[in-house]
């Protein structure tokens, strides 16, 4: 289980980059269709939900809780 960014909602505030303790996200460099620099999930293997389990339980959701746009989903 790792986070993905929904580009329909993301407004490129980069708060997920700031709050993630494992630096899963990095600041984006490409302009999205809506005109924002969306962050990228670069190191999904670092995510706690990916590393520590194989099941569907969410262990850490600080990025999901902080994201003001509800753009982060765990898949």
């Amino acid at each position: 289980m790792y986070p993905t960014i929904n580009t329909d909602y993301c407004k490129g505030c980069n708060l997920c980059v700031e709050v993630c303790p494992k630096t899963v996200f990095t600041v984006g460099k490409n302009l999205s269709q809506r005109g924002y620099f969306n962050p990228v999930v670069d190191y999904r293997e670092k995510c706690t939900n990916f590393r520590l389990q194989k099941g569907q339980k969410i262990l850490c959701e600080i990025c999901w809780l902080t994201c003001p746009e509800h753009a982060i989903e765990f898949i």
């Binding site: 407004k11 505030c13 708060l15 700031e18 600080i62 809780l65 902080t66 003001p68 746009e69 509800h70």
Partner: protein
């Protein structure tokens, strides 16, 4: 409950600026509700005017967007008329404490069974970043271009002194603690109050060298200290609230008590009017 059972999907994405702390508050509110398994059907969300006042409009349940500063008064009416409903007020600092300051202290005194989530972004965001009663000392807004000459309100301390049953202050940099506090507030009878220090990068941060939401969030995180970790001598709680660029927010649970909530009084037996003579 899924996220879009709680919020109206047809109104998403919301209108708030990129990086606004209100989104975090909305996530925390949803999380608290879904963790508690509360029914949206029995809950009414009331708000006033301002950016925060628009939050209940996105909730997929009953929401009342009232006039400026009066959500507490409307909520009192709704709660007393339908005591079985949960009434949650979500509003901003300017709405609740500037124009509506009178109502909140009296509701806390009366201990009406309403739950208040006050989002404190230290400015009037919707109108363009004017001076709010919560703007820290020396900070720059559009109506204090040379720095704020006034001292800010200590919201949580004020409500605690007015007699609320539960008072907590968290920031958008502490979402997990915020979720827990909202849960406690929703389940505690009587007047409960959760203050959230939130970032407003566009209209407040931009004028104070924090235009990037990341910098603003970092500033909030660096300038907040849990009550348990307060080590230096504290003359009064107000010393903490006189924050400027060097100052600090105390965060944590301020009050947890069990005063009886406002309810129906005792039935009276005496007749005021005599029946007509037959």
């Amino acid at each position: 409950m899924e996220f879009f059972d709680f919020y109206r999907k047809d109104r998403w994405p919301h209108q708030f600026c990129p990086g606004c702390g209100l989104g975090t508050v909305m996530n925390s509110l949803y999380k608290a509700f879904s963790d508690l398994n509360m029914d949206l059907k029995n809950t009414v969300f009331v708000s006033g005017i301002g950016c925060t006042g628009r939050v209940p409009g996105y909730i997929n349940g009953d929401s009342v967007h009232t006039t400026h500063g009066r959500p507490i008064a409307f909520a009192t009416g709704i709660k007393l008329a339908r005591p079985d409903l949960n009434v949650v007020v979500i509003s901003g600092d300017g709405d609740l404490f500037a124009i509506g300051g009178n109502h909140i202290i009296h509701a806390a005194r009366r201990n009406v069974d309403i739950k208040v989530i006050a989002v404190n972004n230290a400015t009037y965001g919707l109108t363009g970043g004017q001076l709010a009663p919560t703007t820290p000392h020396n900070m720059i807004t559009t109506t204090s271009p040379y720095g704020n000459k006034e001292h800010p309100f200590a919201l949580s301390e004020l409500v605690a002194a007015a007699g609320a049953n539960y008072v907590a202050r968290w920031t958008t940099a502490h979402p997990n603690q915020l979720v827990n506090s909202i849960k406690t507030a929703l389940t505690t009878p009587g007047f409960t109050f959760v203050e959230v220090i939130s970032q407003c990068p566009v209209n407040f941060g931009r004028r104070n060298k924090m235009g990037d939401p990341v910098y603003h969030l970092r500033w909030i995180k660096d300038h907040s200290i849990p009550l348990s970790k307060v080590t230096f001598d504290m003359k009064s709680p107000f010393d903490f609230m006189d924050i400027d660029f060097k100052g600090i927010y105390t965060i944590g649970e301020f009050v947890k008590r069990d005063r009886a909530p406002y309810g129906k009084t005792i039935e009276t037996e005496n007749n005021i009017l005599r029946p007509p003579k037959e």
